[in-house]
Symmetry: C2
Subunit: 367 residues, 2 copies
């Protein structure tokens, strides 16, 4: 996508062919700044501190993190240590584990002198696959938005999204936002309700930034507002991303997603989840088994923004010493999901539908 | 309730017997500061800018606003103008209109030279009635919490609340928080999940402040977190307040309440609404007819808090120029409400149960 007219991905190889460039997402929307990852620790820190975030981008960054580690030492031990370090950064998004498995598969059988090149090649391929998968998610989701536009006689299609599942969460295009970008580019009149997404405000800071940069009409709302908007028929459909989806269709996504899914169901509004195959955890049959990250309480008691002079400041919003709990994700049960938008098409949130889309994961068959 | 050991109400008559003192709630939790209302305009501004807020306290402040206006001019015209000015400050809380009706009834039939005294007397009475009603709400709600404590064998009873329906929202005690204070004072082990309550953060700023000052254990959470906590059985019951309740039991309360009621229902967790009779709008049979206040978009795009040096600052959290929508309330349908906790007892959220509690409002009977 473009920032100020210049095309960007959210991660790319540096000019030296070794280092990795990212957009430092902790500074958005106030400052657009790139950062360079030169070591495994840089990559792990970028994931843990959420300079990069979003399930697909976490996977891509971890892949490059393995490449950076092998550039120092290309042994089996170094490979395993790198994967362990990166796997420990964040517990919920399964794309992280998927990407590390992919890197193991691509590297372990290579002779040491070919491992670094193999690692960079697979990391680049993971990024390119992500872009292509998201492009296809956009195509498949476009049909859903088009159908709503036709039903509404060309009047505005209002779409609610939670958190950021846009190009900043992926390598390009996004998952939940890919169909929205496609629809906007096709000339369909779309308007996006952007959930602020406390406590880290990925909606207010990243989704609003992305949509604004691309010129897609959008309105920021408090996370509390979605139910009212749905009751008042001001939402035509919801599209969100996911950090891990079970083989039975339960969806772990940013905390608060479940509340919007409940409201959508209560108001008969379609609730779609957009995802590439790497976000499906075929080993799990029940969303309650998905590990839910607990983060620092200060993310709840503090808020960062711009002061009137343009400088960035963090303010405390609660009484001094207030305890806070900070769960990063919740699980939306499959029964509340209207459908999945994947790179292979749209499907109901059921095990049968998922294995029909991905027959290579049918039980008893090989991977 | 006590602040630093000194007992306070949220509104009281000044030492001159004319002016009215309030706690400036826009400055909490950072600064505890009182403000003096000397004129009708002071009172109207205090309500509109939310120096005072919460349905019962809005009513009490409006009552004193009428007294302040009559102190300048005690004509019928002045009385009507004062009521019109105050009624226009905020649209959703019915207590405001109820209090203005009460003031009209108490003043209009009085000779002019007795109107000021009558107005101050009725305003004081409205305040005292509110305190007594909330005390009784505390008593009736205590039984509910006690039952949970017994069922849990004395282990912690976890109660989720949204926004602030504590003593700062009333004259004293609070509505939703009154049973919690009573339970805590009785030695029951209660813990409160405090919804931050974006965009104005009444949970983070007022409920956390109140509970902390009284020593009630509490944990601040993002508004997004409640559904997950309920799924994980970390919430035993929910208690919230209301700004207007229809005769059929629909509840308008702070935006986001509906989402929590949906999650409570989905997880079979009791969802109670605490209210005094003045919050019931007997003229409405359908919550969708309740006017929903829309407030300034800047409440969504900005956040106020303490800088590290202790000074208060407001930061912008969204990209410059971001549009935002700011609906103040949503309506929770009666079907999602387990019961009402009123000064006359606990009752299901139905028309029959409400007129059984308040037989004077049975259709075809007197006022």
């Amino acid at each position: 996508m473009k920032i100020g007219g210049k095309p960007y991905r959210s991660i790319w190889l540096g000019e030296d062919g070794k280092s990795v460039e990212i957009i430092d997402q902790t500074k958005l929307p106030h400052v657009f700044e790139t950062a360079t990852l030169r070591t495994l620790d840089d990559a792990a820190r970028a994931i843990a501190t959420m300079q990069v975030r979003g399930a697909p981008l976490i996977g891509a960054t971890a892949a490059y993190g393995v490449a950076l580690a092998l550039g120092v030492e290309a042994t089996d031990d170094a490979l395993d240590r790198a994967c362990d370090t990166l796997a420990a950064t964040r517990p919920t998004a399964i794309n992280l584990r998927w990407a590390l498995d992919e890197m193991q598969k691509s590297v372990r059988n290579q002779p040491r002198d070919k491992r670094v090149a193999a690692a960079y090649a697979r990391a680049a391929q993971i990024c390119d696959e992500d872009v292509e998968n998201n492009r296809k998610i956009g195509e498949h989701g476009l049909g859903i938005i088009q159908a709503h536009a036709e039903k509404k006689g060309g009047t505005t299609v209002n779409i609610l999204t939670h958190c950021n599942a846009g190009w900043l969460a992926c390598v390009d295009w996004g998952t939940a936002l890919a169909p929205i970008y496609r629809a906007h580019d096709e000339g369909i009149d779309v308007q996006v309700w952007v959930d602020e997404t406390r406590p880290r405000n990925q909606g207010a800071s990243l989704t609003a930034f992305e949509l604004g940069a691309h010129g897609v009409p959008h309105t920021l709302i408090a996370d509390n507002a979605g139910g009212h908007l749905m009751q008042k028929r001001l939402v035509d459909l919801c599209i969100v991303g996911t950090d891990r989806t079970t083989a039975t269709g339960d969806v772990a996504n940013k905390i608060g997603t479940y509340l919007k899914a409940l409201a959508a169901r209560d108001n008969q509004i379609p609730f779609f989840v957009a995802l590439p195959y790497a976000t499906i955890d075929w080993s799990l049959g029940d969303g309650s088994a998905i590990p839910i990250e607990e983060r620092d309480a200060e993310e709840v008691t503090r808020m960062t923004g711009r002061l009137p002079d343009g400088s960035i400041a963090t303010v405390e919003i609660a009484p001094p010493g207030t305890s806070a709990a900070n769960y990063g994700f919740d699980v939306t049960p499959a029964r509340l999901v209207t459908g999945f938008i994947t790179e292979r098409g749209v499907a109901p949130a059921t095990r049968d539908a998922l294995v029909t889309l991905y027959p290579e994961h049918r039980k008893g068959q090989g991977p």
